[in-house]
């Protein structure tokens, strides 16, 4: 191999613009053989566009690419695929309604005998690939859609190595995985690295990056800020490079909770929730932590009327409501910002105005009539107040970045002036800058006297944002601490249901 090919994939001076705005501005990226290379940056920094250029989805406006030292131009995804550059996206990684084996040997390479699919050979190839990943326990005949999320990711990885990928690009592969599953995935990725596969790893979870990756390229505003060995840097440094400021500045200062209690629940039980009691004062931000499946989201959904409770009482402002629908909860001033932005928060095909209006139809209508002008003015106010980056109320929400979509969800519920605001993972998959703005909005609402309950998987977020934190384990409350000065390890031990030592 010549010296030029110490990099398996090299992109030089890549530029790409849309509508006259640069998404990539003279970007360089060098991926070595057998490394795990993190690609970091806030939403809108250009990571997705860069991946799409690397995998032939977009043709760059200018710049060159080299694969193993040779100049190369991809004409579409399949040409990149053939050359050995494969990307796995979080959502589109498998075909759910065909078998695992077919997922692994999808496309041209289907083995045939006398013109018919050779099922035996197909399964053998599939098993071989899964064995390479030490995932032999995944049944190759099962429908891929019935696998767990981590198994689905493994199947997608198996397909990539089946086509002899030289560069494997993973976009947020751990978003749907539990901690245990993440470790399984990491083991597989490390084995692939040892076999010489180059891996580009995109994630918002910096702890993972520091655990797994060798080098990192950090992007901001369509440019590469730096490429560094992960061992030579810190999370703080990475964040400040990504956003251009320090992590401490992310969180707003805490306020002083009021005297009266805004929401109380007594011995509440329902699906996954067992005998939970808690109360939140006006102006207070309560954080709820816990592992996935601990019942924290279900608890919020019950308080918001989105899920029935089987026993217990809900008291809002001293009045027992025990509401059993979202509409009823909203009428008592209880609003839930749901967990899944794209499937529960916004209608992607509709405009910002329509999305915000649907939660506020009663207040903007008269005798059942609602004019475009009312919708527009409501949305314009929200856009200004929450600083939603958009072309105006008429813009389709699907065209906005994740952070701005989340602001639209927030706007819909904030416009109701809720007395009790419940937020489930309000900053998941959102860039650091927008996270900080959302923290500010949450604190701002609390300062106006609302009670806020935030569920989050990120302990630093709970510690930085909340006044008080309760932890849940298997449907019960397993611990409660004051947020100021709380210790992550202690919180974690409560999450696992152990009393702090």
């Amino acid at each position: 191999m010549s010296t030029a090919s110490q990099y398996v994939l090299e992109a030089r001076d890549i530029s790409k613009h849309f509508d006259g705005v640069f998404a990539l501005n003279e970007v360089d990226l060098q991926i070595r053989t057998g490394e795990i290379h993190a690609l970091l940056g806030e939403n809108g920094a250009g990571k997705s566009t860069l991946i799409k250029v690397l995998t032939g989805v977009y043709a760059p406006d200018s710049g060159t690419m080299h694969l193993e030292g040779e100049g190369i131009t991809f004409k579409g995804v399949s040409s990149a695929h053939k050359a050995g550059v494969v990307a796995l996206y979080q959502e589109l990684s498998i075909v759910p309604n065909v078998s695992v084996a077919e997922n692994i040997v999808l496309g041209d390479d289907m083995p045939t005998r006398a013109g018919l699919v050779d099922w035996k050979e197909l399964r053998r190839i599939a098993r071989e690939q899964l064995d390479r990943l030490n995932q032999g326990q995944i049944p190759v005949q099962r429908m891929a859609g019935r696998l767990t999320p981590v198994q689905q990711t493994m199947v997608a990885v198996a397909r990539a190595i089946a086509v002899k990928a030289k560069v494997l690009i993973l976009d947020e592969p751990t978003a749907a995985l539990t901690d245990h599953e993440i470790q399984d995935l990491f083991r597989v990725l490390r084995n692939l690295r040892a076999e010489g596969v180059a891996i580009v790893y995109v994630s918002h979870r910096l702890e993972e990056v520091f655990e797994l990756c060798d080098r990192a390229t950090i992007m901001r505003n369509g440019r590469v800020m730096t490429t560094t060995d992960v061992a030579d840097t810190t999370i703080r440094e990475v964040i400040s490079t990504m956003v251009g400021r320090n992590q401490e500045d992310l969180f707003p200062t805490r306020g002083i909770p009021g005297a009266s209690t805004a929401v109380e629940i007594h011995n509440l039980s329902g699906q996954r929730v067992k005998d939970v009691s808690l109360s939140v004062k006006e102006g207070e931000v309560l954080g709820i932590g816990g592992l996935a499946g601990s019942g924290r989201s279900e608890l919020l959904r019950i308080i918001a009327g989105a899920q029935r409770h089987t026993s217990g009482r809900i008291v809002i402002d001293g009045q027992e409501t025990n509401h059993k629908s979202v509409a009823a909860a909203l009428s008592h001033g209880v609003a839930l910002v749901p967990e899944e932005r794209r499937s529960q928060g916004v209608v992607l095909s509709q405009s910002i105005g329509e999305n915000i209006a649907v939660g506020n139809l009663t207040s903007i209508s008269k005798w059942g009539l609602v004019t475009r002008a009312r919708i527009k003015s409501l949305a314009s106010n929200s856009i200004a107040e929450l600083q939603i980056k958009s072309r105006g109320p008429h813009q389709t929400v699907g065209q906005l970045s994740g952070g701005n979509q989340q602001k639209v969800v927030l706007a819909k519920y904030l416009a109701r002036n809720p007395k009790v605001l419940l937020l489930d993972e309000p900053t998941r998959g959102i860039d650091v800058g927008t996270k900080s703005e959302i923290y500010g909005l949450i604190r701002g609402l609390a300062a106006k006297g609302a009670a806020v309950i935030v569920v989050s998987s990120e302990l630093p977020e709970l510690i930085g944002l909340a006044d008080r934190i309760v932890l849940m384990h298997e449907g019960h409350i397993s611990g409660e601490v004051s947020a100021a000065g709380a210790d992550e390890e202690q919180l974690l031990s409560y999450c696992y249901g152990r009393a702090a030592s």
């Binding site: 640069f22 209608v347 649907v358």
Partner: protein
């Protein structure tokens, strides 16, 4: 920065022009259709009398397609509208023959239609059956009811006053045209400017989002079907009045045409959602096609074949356009 902004503006104008061309494709097709028939037989096709004929022929389809639009905005569809029109047309005839007053007979037919819609709505919204299965089943049963009501015969001998609804004229135009316009305008207004209209859009866009925004999703979906049932019944009443008779199957053919019209109309909207303006253009295309082909002497068999081809062409064209823009 300024040049970038300017370039952005230019690019935006370019893409929106592309979008307009794509969404305009169906409209352009409609105009082309009129132009072609106009050139082939200008002395027949482009006369006031013939255009009035076209409008008269499509009026009933326009009513059914308008209410079908509502159901399709909510993200469902209703296969039973044609059968409901037949049944209601038979009910109004039977009531009139039985000596009821015109107003009572019409009201009775509308109530029957609304009830069918309520059954569809209940099955779909509350029992969560797929709209396909639920409305296919009600279509079958309602069709059976229509045969029971007519006893398999043609009902006629209706009072003259009732017939003026379907055969009378106002300002030189047949009254069904005005009924169709009134229904279309009502549906347009309700979809656009009322809270129930906004809720229909939200439920059709994403029912879970709507629910978590405080919308009573089931109730809203149910209402859409009731509207479709009542609208189909009205169309059936007008049809009976126009034909001066009723059979168990007079309205059946409108179901597929109405769905086709809404689909054609969906190609006009950028997001591909059902919309009343598009639906009316779809109705227009189907009406002009049938009328024009008749005039140039194409047999009804060939007409039916061509109608299918045109629907495929329009929907495929809008798909291609979509790909090009995104």
């Amino acid at each position: 920065m300024q040049t970038r902004a300017a370039a952005g503006e230019g690019a935006r104008r370019y893409t929106s022009a592309l979008g307009a061309m794509k969404s305009g494709g169906t409209i352009i097709g409609f105009i082309l259709l009129v132009a072609v028939f106009g050139m082939m037989r200008p002395e027949v096709f482009l006369t006031f009398g013939n255009l009035r004929n076209v409008l008269e022929q499509v009026a009933i389809l326009a009513i059914i397609a308008s209410v079908q639009t509502v159901v399709m905005v909510v993200g469902n569809f209703d296969l039973s509208v044609g059968a409901t029109a037949s049944l209601s047309g038979a009910v109004v005839a039977q009531l009139l023959i039985g000596g009821q007053g015109i107003a009572v007979a019409i009201a009775g037919a509308l109530v029957v239609g609304a009830l069918v819609g309520a059954v569809n709505g209940y099955l779909t919204a509350y029992l969560k059956l797929s709209a396909f299965v639920a409305t296919l089943a009600t279509m079958t049963s309602v069709s059976g009811l229509a045969f029971i009501v007519t006893d398999g015969t043609t009902l006629f001998g209706l009072p003259q006053g009732f017939m003026s609804l379907g055969q009378g004229r106002w300002l030189g135009l047949p009254i069904p045209i005005f009924v169709a316009i009134a229904i279309a305008v009502m549906v347009w207004f309700v979809l656009r400017n009322t809270t129930i209209g906004r809720r229909w859009h939200a439920v059709g866009g994403n029912a879970e989002v709507a629910k978590l925004s405080g919308v009573h999703v089931n109730r809203v979906r149910f209402l859409a079907f009731v509207v479709a049932g009542a609208g189909a019944a009205l169309a059936g009443v007008v049809l009976t009045s126009r034909l001066a008779s009723a059979t168990a199957t007079s309205g059946d053919s409108y179901m597929l045409l109405a769905i086709a019209a809404v689909f054609l109309g969906m190609t006009i909207s950028k997001e591909g959602t059902a919309n009343i303006g598009g639906t009316l253009i779809g109705v227009g295309i189907l009406g002009v096609l049938s009328n024009g082909l008749n005039i140039i002497g194409v047999s009804t068999y060939v007409q039916q074949f061509l109608t299918g081809i045109i629907i495929i062409a329009a929907v495929a064209f809008s798909r291609l356009g979509n790909k090009g823009v995104s």
